[in-house]
Amino acid sequence: MEWQLAWRLFKRELAQGQLLLIVLAITLAVLSVSGLARVSERLQVAINGEAATFIAADRIINSPVVVDPKVLTIADELSLKHVTNMQFNSMVYAGDKFQLVTIKAVGEAYPLKGKIELSSGEASALPSQGEAWYENRLGGLLGYPESLELGNSILTLSAEISRLPDGGFNPFASAPVLLMRLDDVNATGIIQPGSRVSYIYQFTGDVDALAAFEQQVKPLLNNSQRWVDVQSGDSPIASAVKRAERFLLLASLLGIALACAAIGIAAQRYCQRHYDVVAMLKTFGASAKQIRLLFGLHLMLVTLLGIVLGLLGGLVLDLTITQFLPPEIAAYSPPYLRPFLLGMSTGLISAFMFSAYPLMRLLAIPPLRVLQRQLEGLQLGMWLHLMLSLAAMALLGYLYSRSIALTMTVVLTVLLLGLLLSILGFVMIRMGHSVGMKTTNPLQLALAGLRRRARQNAVQLVGFSSALVLLLTILALRQDLLNEWQKQLPEDAPNYFLVNIAPEDTQPLQQFLDLHQIAATEIYPVIRGRLTHINGEELISGEQQDAGMAGRVGISRELNLTYRDTLPPNNPVVEGTFNQADDEVSVESGVAERLGLALNDTMTFNIDNQSFTVKATSIRNVQWETLQPNFFMIFRPNALEKFNYTSMASFHLDDDKLKAAGSPLSANAVVLQLIQQFPTISVIDVGAMVEQLRQIIDQVSLSLSLVLALVLLASALVLIAQTEAGMATRQRELAVLRTFGASGWLLRSATGLEFALLGAIAGLLAVIVAEFALYMLKTQVFELVVYMHWPWWIIAPLSGAAVVSILGMWRCRQLLNQSCSDLLKAG
């Protein structure tokens, strides 16, 4: 019987639009969670997949010796694909010419990710036995021979490489690459015990298997073996990916929090609307059990509908996004189960926990309310509601993010925000206390209205402002992140690097660049040197430490050092002051951390067999993704000028730019001229890589816009829910004012103004809190530059006023147009 009644009530209320708000709120929460979970999973795969082509794999182990065979066994057990490669430097000979090259000897499965690009197109296989492929520069250096000698072998040069998927980004890799088969290496006889070789093990597989692999294998690695993934190290995209991931998670959590708030408000309204029904049912003898069952079932139906719609919406969202993704990423379909379960539990948890308190109040409505309408029964206190709501939010946040820290941050922020806004809102509204109530002036009537409803308005302010704060925060972060990336990767990001510039070429090179109107970065001198001591203590290598030697581990290779008078752009000093004296050096923060270096520690370098000691007096952050020449160590000119050096520079060049400058030549022609004119300078084309970076950023932007749209929707819903909640009292007041002869114009203007004032206050509060939140987020989470958003201080109150008054007036339009008697009857 209760079931029938619940179903009938549900059907009728749904048809009459009474359940729209609560169903929408639940739908949105479920949609956000299920849709975003899948979309972000897909995007994460997309971002990481794109990024992984930079290392031609998902994970890499880089080792100076052959790794423990157990590692590969584990990889096999986890069904990871893997390939073993070797990399070493060697001389090659072609006729009377010889050249130092980097040999990349690769296994059959190489590359696991990405493609080898040859000048004739994408390679479909590896070089055949006895053949090798050469990087384009090598051809020029050796005069395009048909074959070359490597140790005991003669290798036929069968193709020219334009780009390797793990070509990486190291402008100092001055030796050109020669790609050959791993099984051809033995025959060359080059690798002897003690030869300096890197074994590069590349792995790919699904996310869970990779995580399990990392967990099992990392402990087996020693200090000289490096674990590499897309996000580790100084990869130019690592920080972009990390920030994007954090942002996605944060924004989704905030979106969920907002949707939950909308559910909370809608649930309260839902229950208030049923007070009379419950009183009437009790009067007619309904037992407590009957009423519990009736409304439990009713709410269950509402929740189920919300969940079903939300899951469908999530699916549509996912399908829509897929349309915009490149086909290879769209083809990856993460399992539906997790988003589905997440969505379901979100709907159930949020609907029941957020409506628990309003429902309890509803069930406690005394039957006597049928005679005394003001009775509302049980007042359990807001704290219970607050606790339940926060618990629900925390539970959902954790389910979604699986990070206690992030969840607690969001919950605490929401709590603080709510408290702060309630207090501020209440105080601001009470400040208008002295204004009297005159029914002739709409402004005074509006102020009086605000003051009369101070408590209720304070609650509404929390809703309005929270929505605005979250919106502003997400908006600003999104913009800042995009700007940051755009700044680092502008249209004219360098796409060519020039290295090995001899001192005598510096001047003519500058002239060449000027002639073609190419704006290059400064030309940086590069001196190669080794760090031997820190604070007088001799440094040892990772291998030595593994062999049981005690001591501080240094950097086992030569470093590229540079000197200059001033701090280069994009190199903010985070500690200390940039070089003041000749014995001072500025150190990059990452390497300082790796070496355990503190400010004022001394370092001894060895260059051309000369040792000298300097003091670290500043630590710099280097943005590796800028594609500018970047250095670990920057000295004063006097310290390094006496050593031999070569130079490097980078510049941007494309056909359009040349055309605009009036040059008849194409970019390729100019570069060719440059190579011919300066045969010893190595020109590195990073254009393809820059393009790839840009693609990643585009995809991340798409996901950011999507999350923004969802947060926007959630905010609008909160606003509507809030206005809805205040409707009943407003109706009564309008009836009274109408009865006392207030004109339609006066009531409309007063109501409009009241909403506008409320919106403006909410906007102002939102800016204050958002600036604070942004300060915290930027400094603590995103490492972005903090600045004030002055235009907001005007725009937010104005748009708050506009949005709230439009929404409010829209909701009240019927009330305002009703006749006095209708209002009184309805009231």
């Binding site: 009530l9 007619f284 003898g285 037992s287 407590a288 009957q290 005679l371």
Partner: protein
């Protein structure tokens, strides 16, 4: 105050005199701080909320000044409600019959907001009688209606009351309506006195005076 089965009783009195409080107590909606009420043989002071609800379900029904219809349910569904709560099997058929009796068989699927005030109160009357209550409490049943509609409703109420031998306890300002009851009580500042017909007339003046203020 002692009311017999089948009696019709009017409680008159100015606003704030305690009429509705008395109604709430008599109908087992509220609990008295002292004294005893026996409703259909049950002492209310010995009952908890659930027992009182069960008693109301079986023996009591209501008509309100503001109709108290569920505005999302149709006329028919509103009438069915108490019967369904009481577990009556053919609730729908009974509700149809009741609506026919109050002349609304053509309005079964209308929502309250699609009905006039008089029609809404007729739906409420049909709802009140569907479970054949022993006692019917009516709180200003014509208070929200104009005189023509008010008279019609009153006619209907008394006719049904007589047909079903229900005890009627009616709270009203309306002297004409009160006079149609067999007995009249006057409530004044919490004091209840039974009025002879002549006494009932005497309260007319203050009542009118109050209505005009």
């Amino acid at each position: 105050m002692d009311v017999k089965q089948g009696d019709s009783v009017a409680i008159l009195g100015p606003s704030g005199s305690g009429k509705s409080t008395l109604l709430g107590l008599l109908a087992a909606l509220d609990t008295p701080t002292s004294g005893e009420i026996l409703l259909a043989g049950s002492a209310l002071s010995g009952l908890n909320e659930e027992q009182k609800a069960a008693l109301r379900k079986k023996k009591v029904s209501f008509i309100f000044q503001s109709f108290m219809l569920v505005d999302t349910l149709t006329a028919l569904e509103n009438v069915m409600l108490p019967a369904e709560l009481a577990g009556v099997k053919d609730a729908k058929l009974k509700a149809q019959n009741m609506l026919e009796r109050v002349g609304l068989s053509h309005r079964l699927t209308h929502l309250p907001k699609q009905l006039s005030g008089g029609e809404q109160q007729r739906v409420a009357i049909a709802r009140a009688f569907i479970c054949e209550p022993k006692v019917l409490f009516a709180d200003e049943p014509t208070g929200n209606l104009d005189s023509v509609n008010g008279d019609k409703i009153a006619d209907m109420l008394f006719a049904l009351n007589q047909e079903s031998d229900t005890t009627l306890i009616l709270v009203t300002h309306d002297l004409q309506l009160a006079k149609r009851c067999k007995r009249q009580f006057v409530m004044d500042s919490g004091q209840l006195t039974e009025a002879k017909n002549s006494q009932a007339h005497s309260v007319k003046q203050p009542l009118l005076a109050e209505e005009m203020s």
